[in-house]
């Protein structure tokens, strides 16, 4: 097993880096697995990793139609925070946060998790009430959080326009110091490498075209490249494509897939040291280690699988960024892109059994999936291993949309994220 | 105050105007456009005028109901434009198509109640007449650069081939909305909501700055 370290780098530099091992194998799938994970994004890979590493289920395959981590994992704005309002989601995201805090070491792969703090700005009295409510709830749930006034906000982010002259002046913010950003691709790769090390087969460029269902129980999947592959349990973790896959299994989900856009500026020297988000002015930004301002746009209103959205969404976002950070007016936007986010009516995910026995879905993360990656993978793995939902996953059953036990996180989910 | 009764509909109608001794204040009243006009430039690419205190009436009815159409024509003295996005002008009455079952009737402010009453008197069946004179005002924009200002402000195509004289479009205007009617080659009328009037006035001043803005009182 190849351990990564600075010393390893030095050693390999003497052999011109010719002897690095593959980070993962490129296996031909077996006929049957204990668990098949459909979807090799961050959540699917994390699920496989924890299944193998922590729950001892190593006869596992992850089947990915494209390349590992190529969906929303590759397209998000990398924000990690756990300051959600309701107990159920706060516990889930905080569970993820705790895993984030040791993830690089656990994976022996630097996911560059940078706890630089996150400000959620308030611009109206109601914003401030919501902030106070959320921070109070966070603290009683054991999640770090503070309510700041405009002056304190300005001390943390001097370049933010905290004057009273703005159309919607900053009145204050919630502040979660442990929040931050991570290197999104590295998260997928780190989990993939870890899963592979523990024996998980990562099958790329292979699309699951259907489920094999007998008497209401899933027994495997049909693939475009390797035909039928059988499994005792199947976990479907395909984000924006969840509705499409659910239809294959014969049911609908309470979600819609929408375009979610993001953009980056050209790289500039370090100037923004925290994550700044504003629901009201409707934009958020952080600065990557490479120097790009990473800016999230709002979600487009229509169902869209095109990985692109409408231009006014980008315009509104940039107006918001210039409004919040007037000094960025002359900085330039480099690139924009879009992801496909599967959004639930209550802005919370679905981690759930389904009408098909042994078929489990983990989806509906909407705009907030990245931050939950390790937590989502962990509780989903626990659920798959046992065949019963983990207690933290329990409230996120898809059947809450029948009985009405929704967990409305629109406020905390915010702009996007 | 009267209650209009006809076979099917019972609605409350009132003359909402006080006597002439009380001056109405249009949405831009406080901007004192008369002084602005006096002090400001007399020539420029864009000319602005608030057609203040006009009477505006929303009329809703079924355009496929010939009886209602003729009743409306009788009351207004002009047939409703039933072609989408068109308008008619007859004397001091203009009617803008808003939607297949909605028109905006614009008359001099003092005539609004009379027209309202006439419409109630003539119409029957399912219809709605609402005096909205206080809620809207009319901005008249004209001049050589009027199209340039509109292109900054609205997303509809204002090229004469697509927006001929007489056409009416309800659309966005900056971050608000307007009912835009081309009233001449280089003249447009914008019907705008009262509460957005200041914002739009600010916008128009900004958008026309490079061409020179002439304000008429």
């Amino acid at each position: 097993m190849q351990h990564y370290s600075g010393f390893g780098l030095l050693k390999h530099s003497f052999s011109h880096h010719e002897n690095w091992q593959r980070v993962w194998r490129n296996p031909t799938p077996k006929k049957k697995y204990d668990v098949i994970i459909v979807g090799g994004g961050g959540h699917g890979l994390a699920t496989a990793y924890y299944l193998a590493k922590q729950f001892g289920v190593t006869n596992v395959a992850v089947i990915e139609k494209g390349f590992l981590g190529g969906g929303n994992t590759a397209r998000n704005t990398t924000i990690v925070r756990s300051n959600y309002l309701w107990d159920e989601s706060a516990h889930l995201y905080e569970h993820a946060m705790k895993l984030w805090e040791g993830l690089s070491q656990d994976l022996n792969y630097n996911v560059m998790f940078s706890q630089r703090g996150c400000l959620n700005l308030g611009h109206t009295l109601q914003d401030m009430r919501d902030i106070e409510r959320r921070v109070n709830a966070n603290r009683l749930n054991g999640i770090d959080g503070e309510v700041l006034d405009a002056k304190q906000v300005n001390e943390i982010v001097p370049i933010l326009d905290c004057s009273g002259n703005a159309r919607y002046p900053v009145m204050g913010a919630s502040w979660q110091p442990r929040a931050g950003v991570a290197r999104h691709d590295a998260v997928a790769w780190g989990f993939a490498r870890g899963a592979d090390m523990h024996g998980v087969d990562l099958i790329q460029q292979t699309e699951v075209v259907d489920f094999i269902i007998e008497d209401g129980t899933v027994t495997g999947v049909k693939t475009d490249r390797y035909g039928d592959i059988m499994a005792d349990k199947v976990g479907c973790v395909v984000a924006g494509h969840s509705g499409y896959m659910a239809a294959k299994a014969g049911f609908e989900l309470p979600l819609e897939s929408h375009p979610l856009q993001a953009l980056v500026s050209e790289p500039i020297k370090p100037i923004l040291d925290t994550v700044v988000m504003s629901n009201h002015v409707h934009g958020y930004a952080s600065q990557s280690d490479k120097g790009d301002l990473v800016i999230g746009a709002g979600i487009d209103s229509y169902v869209g699988y095109g990985q692109r959205g409408s231009y006014p969404t980008i315009e509104h976002t940039i107006q918001a960024i210039v409004e919040m950070f007037p000094i960025f007016s002359r900085v330039r936007m480099n690139r924009q892109w879009g992801g496909i986010v599967d959004t639930c009516p209550d802005a919370c995910p679905i981690i759930s059994k389904t009408p098909v026995k042994n078929l489990f879905f983990n989806c509906g993360w909407g705009t907030g999936g990245f931050k939950a990656t390790p937590g989502s993978g962990h509780v989903f793995a626990a659920s798959l291993a046992k065949g019963e939902m983990h207690e933290m996953a329990e409230p996120f059953s898809m059947f809450r949309f029948h009985n009405g036990a929704l967990i409305d996180e629109h406020g905390a989910a915010g702009v996007a994220h | 105050m009267s209650e209009v009764n006809n076979e099917a509909v019972t609605v409350s109608v009132m003359n909402q105007l006080p006597d002439a001794s009380i001056q109405g204040e249009s949405p831009l009243f406080h901007a004192d456009l008369a002084s602005v006009a006096k002090k400001g430039p007399k020539t420029g690419g864009v000319t602005f005028k608030e057609e203040a205190l006009m009477g505006q009436i929303t009329l809703r009815l079924n355009a496929e109901n010939a009886d209602q159409l003729s009743a409306a024509e009788k009351a207004l003295g002009v047939a409703l434009p039933t072609q989408p996005l068109t308008s008619v002008v007859e004397g001091d009455v203009s009617v803008r198509w808003i939607s297949p079952d909605e028109w905006l009737v614009v008359v001099p402010g003092l005539k609004a109640f009379e027209v309202e009453t006439a419409l109630h008197a003539e119409l029957s069946g399912h219809y709605q007449v609402v005096n909205i004179s206080g809620g809207w005002t009319i901005y008249k924009l004209s001049g050589a650069n009027v199209v340039d200002v509109l292109k900054k402000s609205t997303i509809v195509d204002v090229h004469p081939s697509k927006f001929p004289v007489g056409k009416v479009v309800t659309t966005t205007f900056a971050k608000s909305g307007a009912i835009i009617r081309r009233s001449g080659e280089s003249e447009f009328e914008l019907v705008v909501r009262r509460s957005f009037a200041d914002y739009l006035w600010l916008w128009i001043q900004d958008a026309s700055r490079e061409y020179g803005l002439v304000v008429q009182a």
């Binding site: 494509h241 509705g243 229509y302 869209g304 949309f401 | 989408p84 939607s99 297949p100 997303i155 309800t170």
Partner: protein, 94 residues
């Protein structure tokens, strides 16, 4: 950004004038009181969400304020058909 034909105004307008209102042809159950929780939940929340042709409602919010149906491809974003409320689509998924 979409360019949407409003069947009431009779011309194309920019997407900014419209609001999307979600999947079309969802009928409110005639007798809600007799619905089970599951049926009512399905009506409120469960959606087709297709990758392909989607029948959806748009409203010409900044224009004539009329609601109408659009058949749109959710990958290419092509609008295949626009039709009024109460009408059925001619272009449907195979």
């Amino acid at each position: 950004m979409f360019y949407i034909y409003c069947p009431y105004c009779g011309e194309h307008r920019e997407e900014e004038e419209f609001h999307n209102q979600g999947q079309a042809h969802i009928e409110r159950p005639a007798d809600p009181d007799s619905c089970s929780d599951e049926e009512w939940g399905n009506y409120m929340f469960f959606r087709k969400n297709p990758r392909g042709l989607h029948h959806e409602i748009w409203v010409h919010a900044a224009g004539c304020r009329k609601f109408f149906n659009v058949t749109r491809h959710t990958v290419t974003y092509e609008i295949k058909e626009v039709y009024k409320m109460g009408e059925q689509p001619k272009v449907v998924a195979e």
